[in-house]
């Protein structure tokens, strides 16, 4: 099993911290948007962009690049912040999130930010798109070593289209599709177990002819090892990333009401609205 050096772990943890701080600041500035998902996927994105993804921030349309498809487009604050901190564009641009004329639209829009692979937001379409890309690549080159990564939400699995794509991928048997599910157990109206229970989830994926792994979504070494293990299977694999919604800000963690609110507009019974930004930045160790 491939393992990651402790030096790299430290670098990645540093990046994840920067990403989280940027997420909080950009959402607060925007006055709307989603907090829980972006925070809980920061470790996965930091590890991924640092040590796994084949990409070139200075040449976003590099033909040999792996493809990143963000199906649960509402967590784009973490994608944008990660791209900024890995050199795709200036960190200052994150201030423009959701503003009129910004390249950083509220839900990712490829026409405004061409370095994105897809536009998304309505949920359910990303895996189909990833599948289409992988099938096209196979037509071009059966021995391609590109990977197609699709990030999805757990609530998103309520969408029928996800299962159309899962079933179809189970038929195509492509060696280079990996789906990563943000298993934070929340969605807009409450816990996933109450709104639309997903368990037994592992068995569902297995029955659709996918390999399944689980990873600790907050352990850089586990993220690194599991994604590399998935790549070695050369068969469609889904990785369930077990995460804590709003990870990094203990005062927000675990509360589904932070799914769709920015700091300053979140539930006020734990932290008053006007203190939410300050509390979050303090928890994340922002000294600016």
């Amino acid at each position: 099993m491939t393992s990651i050096s402790s030096e790299d772990i430290k670098k990645i943890e540093g990046k994840a911290k920067d990403i989280r701080i940027s997420i909080i600041k950009s959402l607060s500035e925007a006055g709307s948007g989603h907090t829980a998902g972006p925070l809980d996927m920061s470790d996965v994105f930091a590890t991924f962009y640092h040590s796994i993804l084949r990409h070139n921030p200075k040449n976003p349309s590099w033909e040999k690049r792996d493809r990143v498809i963000l199906s649960n487009g509402h967590i784009c604050p973490v994608l944008y912040a990660t791209m900024a901190h890995f050199g795709y564009f200036k960190v200052e641009e994150l201030k423009t999130l959701r503003k009129f004329g910004s390249r950083l639209q509220g839900h990712p829009h490829r026409e405004f930010l061409p370095m994105l692979e897809t536009s998304s937001g309505p949920l359910g379409s990303g895996l189909s798109q990833a599948l289409g890309m992988a099938i096209a690549e196979r037509i071009n080159n059966k021995n391609s070593d590109k990977f197609f990564y699709c990030f999805m939400g757990d609530g998103e699995l309520d969408c029928g289209q996800c299962w159309e794509a899962l079933m179809h991928a189970g038929k195509e048997n492509l060696p280079n599709i990996i789906a990563i599910i943000d298993r934070n157990h929340i969605q807009i109206d409450g816990k996933t177990d109450e709104v639309m229970p997903l368990e037994p989830l592992v068995e569902k994926f297995l029955s659709f002819n996918w390999n399944v792994l689980e990873m600790d979504g907050h352990s850089v070494s586990d993220i690194y090892e599991k994604i590399n293990l998935a790549k070695s299977f050369k068969k469609q694999t889904v990785i369930i990333a077990n995460t804590i919604p709003s990870k990094g800000v203990p005062e927000f963690e675990g509360d589904y009401r932070w799914h769709g609110a920015p700091p300053g507009k979140g539930p006020s019974d734990v932290v008053p609205k006007d203190k939410q930004l300050e509390v979050a930045l303090k928890a994340l160790g922002d000294n600016s």
Partner: protein, 325 residues
């Protein structure tokens, strides 16, 4: 007077009859032979949509998605992102019907080079009945930004339209019909996306008739019948609904009385599109023949056309009523 390149046997009883959807199948195959980036997808309806021709010739470039129209649209989007030119087909009620949002978000919003072929559109799908007769598909596709909407009038035009769609860069919807209809155009008839051509013109036209798709022939037969009773008309083939050919305004101004005919709801289709244009640029009376806010039902194509007022007799009667007023 018939446009000179058209089939000279249009008004004969033994005019050649072919299904419009077959033209898509032939055009797709030809497009695939010309350009190796053309790929095809289908939702369990390959023979019905004539996609089997492409599938048999280029199996490695064909994707079968089963009855998963929503995913099909987005799989096509993904393939287009990698430089392919995907054509995906099903019945119009399911695609763009069921997968309208996926088409909007992953194709039009993304300005993706994917082509949608919706077969079995219109009332004369026949015995399958109302659930399978798409009467709203022109309305729901023309309203999406970046979408081009084509409604071929016969098999030959559908073939040309498909080939041209492959060369056109951007989302395209091609509306196809199930039943056999007369072949109106010939290999020599020009087809260009965005052009509406005059197919029939009398020397003293009293009315301009715009028609599209499978009812085009009925409109032409009606015009011919009317001309024999000294009621002249201009008949225009509106094969592209979006973008609308601006010459439609000129054709309309020749008579200042417009009738539109389509196998589609009166609300929102080709007639509505022309009404929108004329009311803004050159207001005049526009009367729309179409399905009058009802669903379809089982029956033979002829019975259904008669029942819903889309047949030749209904068109003749309507024109006579209008020119009297």
């Amino acid at each position: 007077m018939l446009e000179r390149s058209l089939n000279k046997k249009i008004f004969s009883d033994d005019v050649e009859q072919q299904p419009i959807r077959k033209g898509y199948g032939q055009g797709l195959l030809e497009a695939g032979e010309r350009n190796k980036n053309v790929v095809a997808l289908c939702a369990d309806l390959t023979e019905s949509t004539h996609t089997h021709l492409f599938r048999n010739r280029f199996p490695e470039r064909f994707v079968q998605v089963g009855v998963g129209e929503q995913s099909m649209a987005s799989v096509a989007s993904g393939m287009a992102s990698m430089g392919k030119i995907p054509f995906f087909s099903s019945y119009a009620m399911f695609s763009p019907g069921r997968n309208w949002e996926q088409i909007r978000t992953t194709i039009c919003y993304n300005d993706t080079n994917a082509k949608i072929a919706g077969s079995h559109a219109g009332i004369s799908v026949g015995p399958d009945g109302g659930t399978h007769q798409a009467l709203e598909d022109i309305a729901i596709t023309r309203v999406i930004p970046n979408m081009t909407v084509i409604v071929p009038c016969d098999m030959e035009e559908a073939r040309k339209a498909t080939i041209e769609a492959a060369e056109f860069v951007g989302p395209v919807y091609i509306r196809l019909a199930r039943e056999n209809t007369p072949v109106i155009t010939t290999k020599d008839t020009q087809f260009k996306i965005g052009d509406a051509e005059v197919f029939f013109k009398s020397s003293n036209p009293r009315i301009t008739i715009f028609a599209c798709g499978s009812v085009m022939h009925s409109a032409m037969v009606a015009a011919n019948t009317l001309s024999e009773e000294n009621i002249g008309s201009i008949v225009v083939n509106v094969s592209t609904i979006k973008p609308l050919d601006k010459r439609i305004v000129e054709y309309s101004k020749e008579t200042n009385l417009v009738l539109t005919v389509e196998s589609h709801q009166r609300i929102g289709g080709m007639g509505s599109a022309i009404s929108e244009l004329l009311s803004e640029v050159s207001p005049m009376r526009v009367v729309r023949i179409g399905v009058d806010d009802k669903f379809g039902q089982s029956g033979s194509p002829a019975e259904l056309l008669e029942h819903y007022g889309l047949g030749t007799q209904s068109i003749v009667k309507k024109v006579k009523d209008l020119v009297k007023q």
